[in-house]
């Protein structure tokens, strides 16, 4: 392996190492990018979960005349 560090070819050894590192980094990034895009597509395609029921409040007068309960929050449309 020492021949790789010979001054005549050390530059080419360094070039090969640097190029290999870049190709490896690029492939890794490409795969992560593809995986992220696929995950986003699946999440977008997935049917939205049933929304939580909207809280509903009513006001009712007690101890006086009987009144109809008054709704102050419309139920959330489903």
């Amino acid at each position: 392996m020492n021949f790789l560090l010979d001054p005549a070819i050390a530059l080419y050894t360094a070039l090969a190492v640097a190029l290999s590192v870049w190709i490896g980094v690029f492939i890794f990034l490409w795969r992560v990018d593809s995986a992220a895009r696929e995950l986003r597509r699946r999440l977008d395609d997935e049917s939205p979960a049933r929304p939580a029921a909207a809280p509903r409040a009513t006001l009712e007068v007690r101890g006086g005349r009987t009144q109809q309960p008054v709704s102050i929050t419309e139920p959330k449309a489903e």
């Binding site: 530059l11 070039l15 640097a18 992560v32 990018d33 992220a36 995950l39 986003r40 999440l43 939580a52």
Partner: protein
């Protein structure tokens, strides 16, 4: 596949080829330099990563400011992603700089003003990530870290551009390698202030005399820890007003030069020079360097957008799990 996606994929492939070309050019196209050998090639990696660090931290601050204004989660993700990638590039600039320093200065780290300021910048952004991880409440984490990030960004131009230039001198190539940039050097006097410092090298002016049409300065040079002490005799051409002989520092690839003299008052302006001055004056080096700047900027854009996407997806997945766990 939509047209936009196809364009983005093509741009990424082109970036891959572009950066591979820069790596090849770094080793095979740009020439070696007298006194530096192949070490000068690292400028193609070192300087662009440092520049991209500046862009990244500025972009991160922009997203943080926008988060504080509009309170959108996507802005918080953008700020974190840009800061993370900026931190990565800052670390790369520090590592490549240390490799260069080991070849040229003889040590990986010598607390040069430039080295110290970039280390402080790394610590400031490390604290930003520590702050984020220390806060459990999502809203509070976003708000506080955005405010901190704005303060961190204010320190960035000071630490990268101002602080290293406030020092009397630095061994960083900013003043030693690229012609036209300023490195003030130090005025020493035979009858007054005799001792000065350039970088981590201590100089003592022992004498100054005229010998024919040149002025000769007798300078005692001490390297850190007094490992090397030598008497150097740089000369100055009185007729042309330019440095003549530039003796080399003992054990280091730096030269000592007299840049101006005042014989009547026994004063000399001493400065350091490194072989390879004018590194970017070679057109092949210059264009490879510019191409590297462009390539690293493209790589940063890809990385930070990818990281921001991943952060948004993580949040969507977490929200989805919470919704599914709710009782019907």
């Amino acid at each position: 596949m939509g047209a936009g996606l196809r364009l983005a994929q093509t741009a990424k492939l082109l970036l891959g080829v572009w950066m591979a070309g820069i790596v090849v050019a770094m080793f095979l196209v740009i020439p070696p330099y007298v006194g530096l050998g192949d070490a000068g090639r690292i400028i193609v990696m070192h300087v662009p990563t440092a520049w991209v660090t500046t862009v990244a931290f500025a972009l991160s601050a922009f997203y943080s400011a926008r988060y504080l204004w509009k309170r959108r989660a996507a802005d918080d993700s953008g700020a974190v992603a840009a800061a993370e990638v900026g931190f990565l590039f800052c670390a790369l600039a520090t590592i490549t700089g240390a490799l260069f320093a080991n070849i040229v200065w003889g040590t990986f780290w010598n607390w040069d003003p430039r080295e110290t300021s970039i280390l402080v910048l790394l610590l400031i952004y490390a604290a930003y990530f520590a702050l984020r991880s220390a806060l459990d409440d999502v809203e509070r984490r976003r708000r506080l870290s955005a405010a901190y990030n704005l303060f961190a960004a204010v320190t960035m131009p000071f630490l990268l551009f101002v602080a290293p230039r406030l020092a009397d001198s630095t061994l960083h190539p900013n003043c030693a390698f690229i012609q036209g940039s300023t490195c003030d050097g130090v005025w020493l006097e035979t009858k007054g202030v005799r001792i000065g410092q350039l970088g981590d090298v201590v100089l003592a002016l022992q004498g100054l005399e005229q010998r024919g049409d040149v002025a000769v300065a007798y300078v005692e040079v001490r390297t850190p820890g007094l490992q090397n002490v030598a008497l150097l005799e740089p000369t100055f051409e009185l007729a042309s007003g330019k440095p003549a002989d530039r003796p080399e520092f003992p054990g280091q690839q730096f030269l000592l030069a007299v840049e101006a003299v005042d014989l009547a008052n026994g004063r000399a302006l001493l400065n350091i020079e490194a072989p390879g001055t004018g590194l970017l004056s070679n057109s092949r080096t210059f264009w490879t360097f510019m191409a590297a700047n462009l390539g690293f900027l493209g790589l940063f854009i890809w990385l930070y957008r990818l990281r921001a996407d991943v952060l948004v997806l993580q949040e969507r997945l977490a929200r989805r799990e919470v919704v599914h766990e709710l009782p019907a």
